[in-house]
Symmetry: C2
Subunit: 339 residues, 2 copies
């Protein structure tokens, strides 16, 4: 049980072995030039022999600049399906920053606490949150920027501005003859789920539609499946809006099992444009969210804040794009009979 190889190599040890002062070793790591080739070589030899690397904690405590930004990822899978992380990382790198992607687990309260901890940890110059956080940025010693999520966009641009997507979907369905709607919601702890539900309900009233109401869901296929299975046979529902693609898939499955054809008898919309929805049968109508545009904008805003620059202009186009595939079609001419 001897403690093997556990002692940390310090810059002093490297300096001693190389026969130079520790400041010179420090320079070797921080400056590109300004070292005599001979000195450089001596240090290089010792560094690679000892496999030494500077302690970043110590460095960042002394140097004001750490060159590191943190991207806070929610632990839901929605964001990982694109190359968003790679894009953000590359953008940060182009501006001379490292991006560390941190997933924070727990409820909103815990997550906010941990983010504040990261902010005061001294390791980062700025924080990018890829999901809304119940956090006052003023409480943080470093800039915190949140991506304009679906719902935030809504709030920024005036009540229900971006919600036009949900309304557009419903209008489209109305134009196809649908009259009785049904919403399978996401967990109401998520702002995006709350807002989709809100807009659904608002639009039902606004357009004078009939709604069988809203089922509570939790993003899973099972929740969509259950919601449709429990639908009364005579509900008359012909159009279903699910909170995401998983729930939509479950809904379609349940409909098919009940002998309802999709889309001939009932149309189903998802949200997120997951890869599998494109290839399922029927393929899934959905909403593609341009998270890369949101992320790009957010990280540029963050870097500007870290540098005390003016925030950049917002230039991206629409974030949400409706994709209509096989799961949506004209409403059936006659009502379904009870099976």
């Amino acid at each position: 049980m001897a403690d093997v190889g556990d002692q940390r190599i310090t810059i002093h040890e490297v300096a001693r072995r190389a026969g130079v002062s520790h400041q010179t070793v420090s320079r070797y790591f921080t400056r590109i030039e300004g070292l005599k080739p001979a000195t450089r070589q001596k240090i290089e030899a010792v560094v690679s022999e000892l496999n030494y690397r500077p302690n970043l904690v110590a460095r960042s405590m002394r140097a004001k600049r750490t060159g590191r930004l943190a991207a806070i990822l929610p632990s839901t899978p929605n964001l990982t399906h694109s190359n968003l992380l790679g894009t953000l990382s590359a953008l940060a790198q182009a501006e001379g920053y490292r991006l560390e992607v941190v997933t924070i687990v727990g409820d909103a309260r815990i997550r906010a606490d941990r983010v504040l901890e990261l902010a005061t940890s001294g390791g980062f110059e700025g924080i990018l949150s890829l999901s809304p956080l119940p956090l006052d940025p003023a409480r943080s010693p470093i800039p915190i920027v949140t991506t304009a999520d679906y719902d935030e966009q809504m709030h920024c641009q005036g009540e229900l501005a971006d919600a036009s997507v949900v309304r557009d979907i419903m209008k489209h369905l109305v134009s196809l003859g649908h009259q009785v709607f049904f919403h399978i919601a996401g967990p109401q702890t998520y702002a995006s789920a709350r807002s989709r539900k809100l807009v659904y309900e608002t639009t039902v009233k606004e357009l004078g539609l009939r709604s069988h109401g809203v089922a509570d869901g939790d993003w899973t296929g099972r929740s969509g499946y259950d919601a449709i299975q429990e639908l009364p046979a005579a509900s008359g529902v012909t159009a279903v809006l699910a909170a995401n693609d998983y729930a939509a898939m479950g809904a379609i499955r349940a409909a098919l099992e009940r002998g309802w054809r999709v889309p001939d008898d009932i149309s189903v919309f998802g949200w997120d444009d997951f890869d599998m929805g494109r290839y399922s049968t029927p393929s899934l109508s959905t909403v593609a969210v341009d998270r890369e545009a949101l992320g790009r904008e957010a990280i540029q805003k963050l870097i500007a804040a870290v540098r005390h620059d003016e925030p950049p202009e917002t230039t991206h186009g629409p974030i949400n794009r409706i994709i209509i595939r096989e799961s949506v079609g004209p409403a059936p001419h006659s009502q379904r009979s009870t099976s």
Copy 2:
């Protein structure tokens, strides 16, 4: 453009305002007891007024113990579909550690570098990698444990030991009368993709099967779709093993579009047990990977290493479970005719 609220509050400032020494403030944060209630209250008032939080970087530089572990997540989505992260986090917490989940973007070389950087950063006591890494743990000053991934398990337990799953699948298909196989591989930069391909090829030989070969894929639905679309009409393939569920979904879609019934004409297997595969039609036969068991084992191993304890016994059962759903059935009695 005044720099607003950017100066960091130090422990000295808190101490000054509370009328105590900075060590007393330090004690307020590190020890549960040992402060006079009056002193505690004075400090508490100042802390909440200034919203002060100790600089963790400074703390971890001075104190040898940081109480933090890092979990390195690959930027592929496979792992985020379960509550693995929550489980790991809870396990760490129960042992008195914080788990910080870090996603590292880039190719294997870059990722290995960044992990080494984290290891020497001084911020963590141990690192758990949830994907294989081209990294010599001996080069790290702190313990690094990698979850026994599909392929690693294989190597640990002797060549092809765990590969039994792929072989079991193929044997099952043979028992259903299938004779001509086809594999849609994952990107060969991934160890798991390489190993599935290897075992496929080995088993073809071992069981004396006919194989139409291996298509190069990249985990996406599109790659599965293309592979099947490009299959010669007279290939005679009746059993397809896809590298993951996405590719399998694409394969099924392409087969249906070519007028091949699934599973009547052709059977398709996926891998990963993604949520949507359960509800698609036909539902997807797949392999469920018990990543939680792997993760649990890995983090216990890591914590033991950090504490210089004996590593715990490996007690989990089989990691991979074959799930047979509608996409797999008996081989067609007669060969398909060219359409």
